[in-house]
Amino acid sequence: MSVALALPTRRIEEWKYSDLAQALGEAGFGDETARVVLDTLPAGIESFDLDGASRPDWVAAYYGKLRGNSVSAISLAKARGGIAFRVPKGQVIDEILSLEFAGAGHVRALLVLEEGAELTLSERVGAETRNSGLEIVIGPNARLNHVRISPVSDAVQVEEISVTLARDASYRGHFANFGARLSRTELEIAVQGEGAEVELSGVSVLSGERHADVTTHVAHEVGRTQSAQLFKKVVSGRARAVYQGKVSVAHGANGSDSRQSAKALLLSDRAEADLKPELEIFADDVKCAHGAAVGDLDADSLFYLRARGLPENEARHLLIHAFLEDAVDGIANTDLRETVRGAVAAALDEVTA
């Protein structure tokens, strides 16, 4: 057991840019259980406290079953709480399910959308050191819009989100990261039903010595599936942004379509961005495109704006906003989109000040 639950080291390829053991120090994640805090439970959603006895069938059927990494295995073994949610068949929930991972330690959550269900999930992350695991099961023809905002903290925060999609299901996830001592958001997405679609986007605005790592793995296990990823990073000071994105297309998953783009803007000489898109294709008839770029603000654009009267800092600010905009624009829910825009604006004030 102790071997299986060891923390990953930088010798493991996927953890090369995020030195978890060093960031945690001897204390590690500890043995505490963190909490899932809920504003209110929207009508139509069923919930179950994972600490409770006699798990209902739907929890027993899905909890701890999705593919996860080694850190996720630790939270499964150690977490003594968390919440499971179920949106029953055909339920379209208009109200946002708003939850926060809070407190230090390990925590789990499970979200099951049954056939034809629709939900918007807003996820917030408290500033403590935490190892979270979130499993999301999206049934046939069900749709989930997910927005996760991770504010600035000095803690070590690891979260793995495992998602599985059935036939014609849709998952749209946005991940806004403002950096921690070490922040790792890992998405493990299994596209298992034909016609299913995944759209991932995210922004990171980092300053000081903060770190934010978004690592994704989208597995097209069957054909006629789509995935799109767009991640933008603005990095200043001595901060470090990481994007590792692997798309794999299985044998016979013909007609899969995947797009992947990651771009970073470095605002100081000591800022760092490690962008690593990766493709693993075993099928024949697929369309896959990927790209990554790291750069500075465009000098022509900067001159144009200044020549029209915008002071340099204002012009830079406008261009940085513009750089991030297409990654924020895709958030389906208007309120959450504005919330992310507000958080980005606040973070940029700190970056360009």
């Binding site: 001159f303 020549a307 029209r308 340099e312 012009a315 906003h321």
Partner: protein, 249 residues
């Protein structure tokens, strides 16, 4: 209004302008004509204050003030405007938002109050119609996906909106068909006024059929080599630059 004396400008260590003299008074429209590589764009950029265009000798006075010392945004707020040959595309910033930000930045710099979105929109609309700039263009990202003609029309719209004292038009005719050229020229002519000076930089005489200058200067190898009235443009068209430059030497 603009007084350039013995101007030497280097770009990347290479001298492009080599002792240029030019004086433009309020109310006048002057044209700078010259072959490719003569230094026309360098002149426009150095007047607008682009980084990398180093004044190594000489002076540029704008209303008696040393222009070289001022950053581009201060020149704009003080009434300088350069209509660019290649307006840049900026995804993620709508045209309308850009116009409002730029106008208010200039107003702030002059100590004037900012205009709210509705008043900016009114001003823009009043000027957009005659330049055939649609509402839809104003909602799109700045210059993104605009045709060559649309970009140039938007440049002139900005000129109308910012009401500069000194307007420099760098190859505004390039890439325009005859209808677009006429529209742009009408926009420019509408802005001629006793308080405003204009410098029209062009390779071809064509534009000057529509924007008739008070004076024409021929730029070659970094210096003004010939000067004259509007008839000089026709002479240039007939003889070609080579002959004029040779005659001047």
């Amino acid at each position: 209004m603009l007084d350039i004396k013995n101007l030497h400008v280097a770009v990347g260590g290479k001298e492009i302008l080599k002792g240029l003299n030019l004086r433009v008074d309020a109310g006048q429209v002057h044209a700078i004509m010259g072959p490719n590589g003569s230094g026309k764009s360098t002149l426009s950029y150095v007047l607008a204050g682009r980084a990398g265009y180093e004044v190594t000798k000489g002076s540029i006075a704008y209303n008696g003030e040393d222009l070289v010392a001022l950053p581009p945004e201060v020149r704009a707020a003080k009434g300088g405007f350069l209509a660019m040959q290649y307006p840049v595309e900026i995804p993620g910033v709508t045209t309308m938002m850009f116009l409002k930000s730029a106008l208010n930045a200039q107003r702030r710099s002059r100590g004037e109050s900012e205009m709210d979105a509705i008043n900016v929109l009114k001003q823009v609309r009043a000027k957009a119609a005659s330049l055939n700039v649609s509402e839809e263009m104003l909602k799109r990202a700045l210059n993104v996906g605009f045709s060559g003609g649309e970009k140039k029309r938007l440049e002139i719209l900005q000129m109308a909106l910012f009401e500069p004292k000194l307007a420099i038009l760098d190859e505004t005719d390039s890439g325009l068909d005859i209808d677009a050229l006429r529209l742009v020229a009408e926009g420019v002519n509408g802005l001629r006024s006793p308080e405003r000076a204009m410098l029209v930089i062009t390779h071809y005489q064509r534009l000057l059929d529509y924007i008739v200058p008070d004076r024409i200067h021929v730029l070659a190898k970094g210096r003004i080599v010939a000067e004259g009235g509007k008839e000089l443009a026709l002479e240039l068209e007939a003889k070609g630059y080579e002959q004029i430059v040779k005659d001047a030497a």
